[in-house]
């Protein structure tokens, strides 16, 4: 009987069972999903054997959206409803988009994040991205044929909090349990480093479709330590296409184009760019909807000149990252190239020149990020692996709080290793002041107006005191996903008032529920069934983990009474897992989590003590 088994510590269900987990590279141009099979990371292909899923979503009235190649084919004929490069819109307001005017979409300026008007109504970039993720989830479920523990989703290292939060929300919306948001260059470093047993200082130069990252890592004894990261969240292969597109317009002296023709020429530009990787010149031909003809010859030389400033734009962040790491280019042992755009010969040449060495191209630049994400997902899911490694990543951009005069007081400096928490004390400036408002921003500039606004909140209920007497401590906590939470608390009187803030760009639970409902209009399963299934997966995972912990340390670290309490919580959860009452199941999970906090804390303490036991007391003779 299942219940008896579960209540018995040490009798966990088969601990050697492989837990299924996936890594997803949610790219600007293409997305991929990978997993670890028999110890080897592999990309999961679609039914036609294709690895890439073009990150293109086409909305059609009264239909499930088309995603991938089918949508990509329709982008010229149906530009307003076919969303490409949606990643550039994640966590961005309309005013953030320098090139909004040249993008063939019907934008809706919404607070926080821009939205798009489509044949299926107004969609946020989060919903569009969720469609891509959903397709990849289905592909993986189909190929793996089992219950998935979760996914690692990669993001550009230089993504700020708003962009990360948007990505995590999209994954939630797509029904994925996010094990971790992983920085793309770090994922690539894992795939490269483990494959080549690399040790030393490495740079990862990652130029994708829409984003540029440079990360400097130290690889040593199984630890991947990011020393510094920098980049440009709005620079990528798309910009090279755009330069060709502008050149075509200029050369052919074309009048302003329709959305259809814009998309057509952008597609032609991308094809030309790809051809120039292999050939010294390319012919660009197109017939526009007006009947006008385009027929041009673009040489590699002209293309180099058109894009020299874009290539140069990657070197500034590269220098800054090296400087933040306290290193010079000649201390870098290898430069790993990532992202399809690094295939361009001018990029290869520039990087080789800067680092005075040939860059490393022995991994497929399109796949390496997804493979690294899968390798990390496999470990995060709790599978044992032969090599043991640890990733130590950093926050790419500083966090601060607005002070008098619109200036930023920096609290968490960029390149701090995650997770991190920093606190800063503030005080009231008026007698009897009972409330205080805070504005959290992200960026390197001194003025609030030049940084990204993340959250605004007010702390109320401060007891009336003389000006300057209250001591309000604001704590910024950044977790391993690079996501921020903020709390504030008045300290001096012992009166506590605290708030937890979700950044203003994040979706509320209500938003998610509404979007979920919207997305199920045309789908077979319903929201409740899915929520129940997700809770069941979580519940089962918790039962397994608790049983394993009890088997390992229950006797040593818990009293008989404490063990009995946890056993009762386990039985209650097991019973709830048998039924289909979502509320009861959630409550049982919460209860068991509450019952095991103390146990978790003691286990952590014991494991640290054990780790340091070898050289416990340092000789103290001063």
């Amino acid at each position: 009987m299942a219940l008896m088994q579960i209540a018995e510590p040490g009798m966990s269900t088969d601990p050697h069972r492989h837990r299924l987990a996936i890594g997803i590279d949610l790219g600007t141009t293409n997305s991929l999903v990978a997993t670890v099979r028999n110890g080897i990371a592999v990309v999961i292909n679609d039914e036609q054997g294709r690895a890439l899923l073009p990150s293109v979503v086409r909305y059609r009235p009264e239909e499930e959206p088309h995603v991938g190649y089918a949508a990509q084919r329709a982008q010229s004929e149906d530009p307003y409803n076919t969303i490409v490069s949606v990643k550039r819109l994640m966590g961005r307001g309309l005013h953030d988009l320098a090139d909004a005017g040249s993008l063939p979409y019907a934008f809706v300026d919404a607070p926080g994040m821009v939205q798009l008007k489509t044949a299926c109504g107004i969609k946020s970039p989060v919903e569009v991205s969720a469609e891509i993720l959903k397709r990849l989830r289905e592909r993986a479920e189909h190929a793996l044929g089992g219950e998935m523990v979760g996914a690692v989703i990669t993001v550009p290292a230089y993504f700020d909090d708003a962009q990360r939060q948007a990505t995590k929300d999209a994954a939630k919306l797509a029904g994925l349990n996010v094990l971790r948001l992983l920085n793309e260059p770090t994922a690539a470093a894992v795939a490269y480093g483990l494959d080549n047993a690399a040790e030393g200082i490495y740079a990862v130069y990652d130029l994708g479709g829409g984003t540029f990252d440079i990360s400097i890592l130290r690889l040593s004894q199984g630890i991947f330590e990011v020393l510094a990261t920098n980049g440009d969240a709005a620079l990528g292969g798309d910009d090279f296409d755009h330069r060709i597109y502008c050149w075509i317009l200029e050369q052919s002296s074309l009048a302003p184009l329709s959305a259809h023709d814009t998309r057509l020429l952008l597609t032609k530009a991308r094809e030309a760019k790809e051809t120039l990787t292999e050939y010294p010149e390319v012919r660009i031909t197109a017939v526009l909807s007006t009947g006008e003809m385009v027929d041009l010859l673009l040489t590699a030389q002209v293309f180099d000149a058109l894009t020299a400033s874009l290539v140069g734009k990657t070197l500034g962040p590269t220098r800054k990252a090296l400087r933040d790491a306290g290193l010079t280019a000649d201390q870098v042992k290898g430069v790993v190239m990532v992202g399809g755009a690094t295939r361009m010969p001018q990029i290869q040449r520039t990087v080789a020149q800067f680092f005075k060495q040939e860059p490393l191209n022995n991994l497929d630049p399109d796949k390496v990020v997804a493979l690294g994400a899968a390798i990390q997902a496999n470990v995060l899911a709790g599978n044992r692996v032969a090599d043991d490694w640890l990733l130590l990543d950093v926050i790419p951009l500083s966090l601060g709080i607005e002070t008098m005069g619109g200036l930023v007081e920096r609290i968490v400096p960029r390149n701090s290793t995650l997770p991190t928490a920093r606190a800063q004390d503030f005080t009231t400036f008026k007698d009897g002041q009972t409330a205080m408002s805070f504005h959290v921003v992200q960026g390197e500039r001194e003025l609030v107006a030049d940084c990204r606004s993340l959250a605004k909140f007010e702390l109320r209920g401060i007891p009336p005191m003389a000006a300057g007497a209250a001591r309000i401590r604001v704590t910024l906590q950044v977790d391993a996903d690079g996501l921020l939470s903020v709390s504030a608390r008045e300290q001096s009187t012992g009166v506590e008032a605290s708030v937890a803030v979700k950044p203003s760009y994040g979706l509320t639970d209500d938003d998610i529920t509404r979007m979920l409902k919207d997305s199920y209009v045309h789908a077979k399963e319903d929201v409740h069934a899915r929520a129940l299934r997700e809770a069941q997966v979580e519940g089962k995972r918790l039962v397994e983990a608790t049983q394993a912990a009890l088997a390992e340390d229950g006797e040593a670290l818990l009293s008989a009474a404490e063990r009995a309490d946890i056993a009762r919580g386990l039985s209650a959860l097991a019973a709830a897992l048998e039924g289909s009452d979502l509320t009861a199941l959630k409550r049982a999970v919460e209860t068991l989590n509450g019952l095991t906090v103390e146990f978790a804390s003691r286990r952590m303490d014991a494991s640290v003590r054990k780790a340091l036991a070898g050289h416990r007391i340092e000789d103290v003779e001063c």
Binding site: P419, A421, D479, A600, S601, L612
Partner: protein, 178 residues
Amino acid sequence: MSHYDFHKNHFELLGLAPRFHLDAARLDQAYREIQAQVHPDRVAHLGSAERRVSMQWATAANEAYQTLREPLARARYLLHLRNVDTQEETNTAMPAAFLMEQMEYREAIAEAKATQDAHALERLEGQLKEKIAQHLAGLERALDHAHDDAAAAALVRSLRFLNKISAEIADALDALEQ
């Protein structure tokens, strides 16, 4: 039953003696060993209790490591443990000779910037490095041997200025490169 108490100081957490002189390799090793145990990636598949505890530990380990790794922060922290206020915001009374020197550095940087003289900046950088090394040696004497906390606090205050100038030189060099 004892468990991790978040009032444990950074030296205790990393199993190191509370003094200024520090074996960097040993600090690195201790930090890595702790993170290998407590990092959130180790418990990503476990329940929320484990994940919460892990985040607190890993955060504490990072703070300890960052503080102890950096000499100025380490000195300041040691003084804090000894209940000595370094008065960095309040005590601006620096010796006249020191202030003179500061001004000379600033003028030299401004001149090198104006004439785009990278070599002059590099020379300044070298001088400053030496000066900083002298301060660190002084801190070790004051904190670990003489136990002269007042002298150590004064060194912390002037080291802070030197670090700022050092950063300005690096910024100027960086601007020249681009």
